[in-house]
Subunit: 142 residues, 2 copies
DNA sequence: TTAATTTGGGAGTCTTTTGTCTTAAATAAA
DNA sequence: TTTATTTAAGACAAAAGACTCCCAAATTAA
């Protein structure tokens, strides 16, 4: 994994919500159970996601969460970075102090390419696109 | 960075030692200063590297560390995994519970390819090769 | 109106990682 | 032999991340 547990849980939760029928409300505890995420911990994360505008929340019986349009069209990277701060893959694999684009270590260039491709992978598709395609795969394999 | 501080410091130290004249002894404090690594922390890491056989250590005045043949021909990945345990990039970027080779999420395949290339990048060259090539670059740019 | 349910908010715990400090052991030079 | 120097070892402290718990606020249903 590239990011922390917190970021991972946030993405899994939001992808879970993206796969629900439109306007359906899902309780934090249901997501936690289904995705095997520590329940109270996830509740905290969803609380923050609500503040960021990635989910709408409703209290009381019948309440729960649903994904917002903002989250639907956001990329995985955007959401992760909002939740856990910048994803810090800037430094080269050797970690060498003087290693830079001017003074590249022997692994620098290939690493730079791979890093860019990873960034692209998680920033070029929207959450809803990823969720929809994944639903299709699950359906076919049934 | 893919690995932790501990792994990063270990690699930087061993690459530093690999760039020294043959048989030269370098003190922990010198590496720490030169590479801007917390001095006592690095000392601990070098202590462990000595146990693993990646460096030879000599006490007393004129003492210090030098790289062993084992470390010279080891890959960066081997050393990192010895020092900090397995580098855990197994799980997919989406972290989805059911995402697997049979049930791939939409990002799974590209991620698998990138992960393999990263593994290759840090496991196909020996520490000494990397160090030598880097020395050359630094020399040319002077 | 009351009780049950669900999120909001904050405090607090546990664990892991990172980093510091102190003393002992070994070695070399004075 | 004594002193200075350098690593070895282990205890300790600080910070960050992961996770728990409790109570308040809102909402719904009885």
């Amino acid at each position: 994994m590239i990011y922390t547990k917190t970021g991972e849980y946030a993405i899994r939760a939001v992808l879970y919500l993206a796969r629900q029928p439109k306007e359906a409300l899902v309780m934090s505890s249901e997501i936690a159970e289904s995705e095997e995420i520590p329940s109270h911990y996830l509740a905290k994360i969803l609380q923050r996601m609500a503040k960021y505008g990635y989910v709408d929340s409703f209290k009381g019986r019948g309440g729960g969460f649903k994904i917002t349009e903002l989250a639907q069209r956001s990329s995985i990277l955007e959401i992760v970075e909002r939740v856990e701060g910048p994803v810090i893959n800037l430094k080269c694999v050797t970690g060498l102090k003087e290693c830079s684009d001017e003074n590249p270590c022997p692994l620098h260039e290939e690493w730079a390419e791979l890093r860019n491709r990873i960034y692209n992978l998680i920033s070029s598709k929207s959450v809803q696109e990823v969720a929809d395609k994944y639903s299709d795969t699950l359906k076919k394999n049934r």
